[in-house]
């Protein structure tokens, strides 16, 4: 179990967060750039000082600001950190990098070979890091951490910048290794889909505050606040009726279907102000009740300026203070 209840000072704000990740559990920290996600991981790894709080791993206190103060040094924490830069040691071969964290008494040749095969880098053991592709370098970095015997995996957007397929396969590798070894794993993610694919639980962080933690589908479909909704991709907020200070429905572009289906959610009708190609379908800007709503649809159903009617499927609702509220009794076409 990885436990972190910490306050960490940053230049413009203080990161205050409480994370508890069970063995074998995977948590994704999701939030905008500069929210304090990486700072939180670095505090757990012991790379930045903690103003107050406690970090423990497997019952072992790594950091505690309460008496007796504890700050286990980085090299004794047993925390593995993967970053966007694999940071392979350029003067060592792939095998040298993999063996780096093995103790002097640990021969490890067999474990190096078997891990290299599992990671698909068996043929590269004598290569220098400069000759590796981005994906190969990340595999070596992952193998190095696993051979070093870390007790927790921290992943700081390690695969940002790689192509989608490679990212997916590397994330799959991390997931399977973390599950095999029952390691608590925390992923910092900038992209929601990546966080969802990785995690059992999603934690949304904004300006140093944890806004919501829960199963990914719950966080995405039932955001605890309008701010969380904005962060997970809700682009429009439409009032239920004529009252502008009443509750508003969060409209996610991907949770919209064409036509009026009041039994599925909230029907939105208005003028299509713009159409844009979006992947295999189309993206429309729908002006309804003075609010611009973005909808992604499989087909273009009218011309620009024409009338468009769609249904937002089971949208979340938010009160004037931004907190989530139950859906109003009657949702009618706007």
């Amino acid at each position: 179990m990885l436990e972190a209840d910490v306050e960490v000072d940053r230049r413009h704000f203080t990161v205050r967060a409480s994370l508890h990740v069970a063995d074998g559990e995977r948590l994704a920290l999701f939030g905008p750039s500069g929210a304090g996600k990486s700072t939180l991981l670095e505090a757990i790894a012991g790379l930045v000082p903690v103003r107050s709080g406690r970090v423990a791993l497997g019952g072992r206190v790594l950091t505690s600001t309460a008496p007796p103060r504890v700050r286990v040094p980085v090299w004794q924490r047993g925390v593995g950190l993967l970053r966007q830069q694999p940071s392979l040691f350029p003067h060592l071969t792939v095998a040298g990098n993999l063996r780096y964290g093995l103790g002097p008494g640990q021969a490890g040749d067999q474990s190096v070979d078997s891990l290299a095969r599992a990671l698909g880098i068996a043929g590269l053991l004598h290569a220098m890091p400069a000759r590796l592709s981005g994906g190969q370098a990340h595999r070596v970095a992952l193998g190095r951490l696993l051979l070093a015997g870390c007790d927790a995996l921290l992943l700081d957007e390690p695969y940002a910048g790689l192509d989608h397929a490679l990212r997916r396969s590397l994330t799959g590798l991390v997931v399977s290794f973390a599950a095999d070894r029952q390691l608590p794993a925390v992923l910092v993610a900038h992209e929601l889909a990546e966080a969802q694919a990785f995690a059992h639980r999603l934690a949304v962080l904004d300006r140093g505050r944890l806004l919501q933690t829960g199963p990914p589908d719950q966080v995405v479909l039932r955001p605890a606040s309008r701010r969380v909704a904005e962060l997970v991709g809700y682009l429009g907020f439409v009032p239920a009726g004529p009252r502008v200070d009443g509750p508003v429905a969060g409209i996610h572009p991907e949770r919209v279907v064409p036509g009026a289906r009041p039994e599925e959610g909230m029907v939105l009708a208005g003028r299509a102000e713009a159409w844009r190609p979006a992947g295999p379908g189309w993206e429309a800007d729908l002006r309804t009740r003075g609010v611009l709503v973005t909808c992604r649809l499989a087909a273009r159903s009218c011309d620009t300026g024409g009338d468009l009617e769609v249904t937002a499927v089971d949208p979340p609702w938010f009160g004037p203070d931004g907190a989530a509220v139950p859906a109003p009794e009657r949702q009618r076409a706007c």
Partner: protein, 247 residues
């Protein structure tokens, strides 16, 4: 053309030297004593620079010192001061009547006309070249490499031995080679604070003064032969080390 022009003095030296003149100069009684002095003082100078200059360069590269610009300016200042001026100022700093000189006297050391004084003068002339070169070598290393080594279980000194120093080694070797060449050729400060014991540059100077240009040339060749191989070897080794990393 520029390359040839720069090599011109070396070519001129080789053209104007005959094997007989070299033999005659080097077999004279006591002729090789300054060579031994230069080699010994150069080796001690390098050891001092390695032990004291390397940590300073690392701290400067990692921003581990307060007022980093002041430290850099201090090094640049000693780099830009003419060596003769350094020698003059050293007399005022470590001469026998100064507090430092009196302290040294309690240790039975003197920074005037001794082997110790020769080393002090060489250190002052060579140190900025080594420290600034080493600082550049350390700055090229991503600090996250050292962090990664620590995350993998290395204590800082072990991370330094296994990661920082091997990665900086080509740059450190070049900086050390330049410092060696500067120490071997140190003259301006040396002539003020350590006229005795003679090193090679002073041997060349006094021979030139006493018996003329032709007699001094063989010793100039000796100085080149002593001063240049280490930089050349360091250059070749650094290039190979960088090539190995490129795979």
């Amino acid at each position: 053309m520029i390359w040839l022009a720069l090599l011109g003095p070396v070519i001129a030296l080789l053209v104007h030297l005959s094997p007989a003149a070299i033999r005659a100069a080097l077999t004279a009684p006591g002729a090789l004593a300054p060579l031994v002095t230069s080699l010994e003082s150069g080796a001690v100078t390098l050891a001092v620079l390695l032990c004291l200059g390397t940590p300073l360069a690392w701290l400067m590269a990692r921003g581990g010192l307060p007022l980093p610009r002041v430290w850099e300016a201090g090094l640049l200042c000693s780099l830009l001061l003419p060596p003769l001026v350094i020698g003059l100022l050293l007399v005022f700093m470590v001469g026998p009547v100064t507090p430092v000189g009196q302290f040294l006297a309690t240790l039975h050391l003197s920074a005037t006309n001794t082997f110790f004084a020769l080393v002090v003068a060489q250190v002052y002339e060579a140190a900025p070249y080594y420290v600034l070169g080493a600082q550049a070598a350390f700055s090229e290393i991503d600090p996250r490499m050292e962090q990664q080594a620590e995350l993998l279980g290395d204590r800082p000194w072990r991370a330094a031995r296994r990661v920082t120093l091997p990665l900086a080694a080509p740059g450190l070797a070049m900086a050390l080679a330049v410092a060696w060449a500067r120490a071997m050729g140190a003259f301006g400060a040396v002539i003020i604070v350590a006229y005795h014991p003679y090193g090679l540059p002073l041997q060349i100077w006094t021979t030139l003064q006493e018996t003329g240009l032709a007699s001094a040339l063989p010793f100039a060749l000796v100085l080149l032969v002593v001063a240049l191989p280490l930089p050349i070897a360091a250059y070749v080794w650094s290039a190979r080390a960088r090539g190995r990393r490129r795979g």
